[in-house]
């Protein structure tokens, strides 16, 4: 999945003091000088905004001089807000559909790519990777043209087969499916590449040993590949769900959220509330809830897939 943070390779989290004890180098201020440019920005653009955001979630404020403290009022409003629950449902459907289908598809693709000649696999990987580096704006607008009711290519194809045109981006049911198909297309190559890296890290001796024991490829896949791929799949799923819960640009550009909010995600609703209606307090409350949802679903995926990986 391409995303703001998902575009990075996974860093390995190791406690900073973990390896051999470091000799003290430099005296006093030196290390602080090295880290201070980062922490200056960190405090200004990360720490303070987060603190302010938490505070804002407890007030009513339109950006003007009047700021009214409402306690948990924003959260109470949120729980009773049908538009929020609609956005929650939409985002949940997108998240589940894309992670399930996308991960299975990427796994299949990665495994198959390992089976073809190296030169061909290299070329194909580049092709499948292209959407991951392409701007979401470009992707969404190309697909918008393909889906277009009057002149879109999908409807031209349907008509060629003697079928009726579809209102892909307007129809209440179809627009979510259209969005999901585009998202899976866009994320497939990225996930496949990460899974490829995971496949390469499986020791080949394990397969050799299994062959001696007379295992066929099918049982190799279920017995060796899949279990040893668990950490990789965990990573793909956790980054995937976090990215998808926060999805904004793709639905905004493809459907605008739909005439009747049929494809309005939480992030889209949040943007509307905050930047169109200037309800900064309420939007901040929603941001807090969205962060919690991301954290919880990321953690659940982590626990669920990662369970007993020892090998």
């Amino acid at each position: 999945m391409t995303s703001l943070s998902g575009i990075y390779p996974r860093p390995e989290v190791v406690s900073p003091g973990a390896p051999a004890p470091l000799p003290r180098r430099g005296r006093g201020l030196t290390p602080y000088l090295f880290i201070s440019p980062f922490y200056l920005g960190f405090v200004l653009f990360q720490l303070l905004p987060i603190a302010f955001s938490l505070y804002l979630s407890l007030v009513e404020w339109n950006g003007g001089p009047a700021m009214q403290f409402v306690g948990l009022g924003n959260f109470r409003t949120l729980i009773a807000d049908a538009k929020f629950w609609n956005a929650f449902r939409v985002t949940l459907i997108i998240t589940v559909a894309c992670t399930l289908l996308g991960t299975i598809g990427a796994l299949l693709l990665a495994v198959l790519l390992e089976r073809v000649a190296d030169w061909l696999a290299g070329l194909l990987r580049v092709i499948f990777f292209l959407p991951s580096v392409t701007s979401v704006v470009v992707i969404a607008y190309v697909w918008r043209q393909l889906y277009s009711t009057d002149y879109g290519y999908f409807n031209t194809l349907l008509e060629g087969m003697g079928l009726a045109r579809q209102n892909w981006l307007g129809d209440p049911q179809l627009q979510l499916a259209a969005l999901i198909v585009m998202l899976i297309w866009a994320g497939l190559g990225w996930d496949a590449l990460i899974i490829t890296a995971g496949l390469r890290s499986i020791p080949p001796e394990l397969y050799d040993a299994a062959k001696v024991d007379g295992a066929n490829e099918w049982s190799e896949f279920w017995g060796i590949t899949l279990p040893l791929l668990r950490p990789t799949l965990t990573f793909v799923l956790v980054t995937g769900v976090i990215f998808l819960w926060g999805i904004f640009a793709q639905p905004q550009l493809l459907t605008g959220g739909g005439e009747l909010r049929e494809s309005q995600t939480i992030a889209l609703y949040l943007y509307d509330v905050g930047f169109r209606y200037h309800k900064f307090g309420y939007a901040s409350g929603m941001a807090v809830v969205l962060s919690l949802i991301m954290f919880v679903s990321g953690y659940l995926n982590f626990r669920f897939v990662k369970a007993d990986v020892e090998y």
Binding site: S5, I7, Y8, P9, P11, E12, V13, V14, S15, G17, P19, P21, R25, G26, T30, F34, I35, F38, Y39, G41, F42, F45, Q46, L47, L48, P49, I50, F52, L56, L112, R115, V116, A117, L120, V126, L130, V133, T134, S135, V136, V137, V138, V142, Q145, L146, D150, Y151, T156, W185, L188, A197, P231, T232, I242, A249, A267, A283, A287, V288, S291
Partner: protein
């Protein structure tokens, strides 16, 4: 047995090639559409019968429509994006490398706390800071400024991770030897650490380039003036301002915005795979 294997390999190869052709179709559509004259935009055929560069010309020179000359400041979008990307990359690489070196090779008070604080907030979504950061920038009058685009993106904890991990593998003896020769900490950083970390810096630069070049939500929030738009926001805006005629122009704009990243992928294939495996997928 070996023959069956070979047939299977060719079969899978053929299947994947077919899939790849279908997979590429949106890109083919984009390129083909950008080369169509107005008369063919809605023809229903994928490829233009009379290909032309007219859609590209209009991006830079505007076009006549009912006696009016319409201009999209596309060149501005491009310049803005290049400028923001270059400055942002330079700043991120510098601050990340400095901080990573601090964490990789020094022991100091509060190190654990500062480190975990960084990780903790790194996991938070953009939305957790979006509104206050926007408010801050509008308050100090930096809306529509390059600084508003660049500064928040300089905070990049992921990069520090990657670089720190790499710098930890640089032998301490090298640093000690330089010290004996009388080099100060910043000289050591510049003359030894930075050159030795070049592969990791390169990988980080690629990912960072892609992120800044394609970033959409934050620029959308802080940009109001068209001359300040980046490519992402500018192309998104083309739809809204000119209605239906714009399909061809939009695709031409998209092609030009995508070419640099495609070139990057083709040139840097190796670094990409290495970048992805750099975190080493250990349990």
């Amino acid at each position: 047995m070996a023959r069956r294997r070979r047939i299977l390999q060719y079969g899978i190869g053929g299947l994947l090639c077919l899939f790849a052709v279908l997979y590429l179709f949106p890109f083919v559509w984009m390129a083909a559409m950008s080369l169509k004259p107005d008369a063919e935009i809605y023809s229903g055929h994928v490829f233009p019968a009379a290909p032309t560069l007219e859609q590209y010309r209009r991006l830079f020179f505007g076009y006549e429509f009912k006696g009016l000359t319409l201009v999209v400041p596309y060149l501005d979008y491009y310049k803005n994006t290049v400028f923001v990307t270059v400055v942002s990359l330079a700043l991120v690489l510098l601050t990340d490398a400095l901080a990573a070196y601090g964490f990789a090779k020094f022991q100091f008070r509060g190190k654990e706390l500062l480190f975990w604080l960084m990780i903790g907030t790194m996991l938070l979504p953009l939305y957790a800071t979006l509104i206050p950061t926007f408010w801050l920038f509008s308050k100090i009058g930096l809306i529509n400024r390059y600084s508003a685009l660049i500064l928040p993106g300089v905070v990049d904890a992921y990069g520090i991770f990657l670089l720190r991990q790499y710098m930890q593998t640089i032998p301490n003896e090298l640093i000690d030897a330089a010290k004996v020769d009388g080099a100060g900490p910043f000289r050591i950083f510049w003359k030894i650490i930075v050159p030795l970390s070049r592969p990791a810096l390169g990988t980080l630069a690629i990912f960072r380039f892609l992120f800044v070049w394609n970033d959409y939500l934050w620029p959308l929030v802080v940009l109001r003036k068209e001359e300040m738009f980046t490519l992402a926001v500018g192309i998104a805006n083309m739809e809204m301002r000119q209605g239906m005629v714009v399909w061809g122009g939009q695709m031409a704009a998209s092609v030009l915005a995508t070419l640099p990243v495609i070139a990057l992928v083709l040139l840097m294939q190796r670094q990409f795979l290495r970048g992805l495996t750099m975190g080493a997928f250990k349990a």
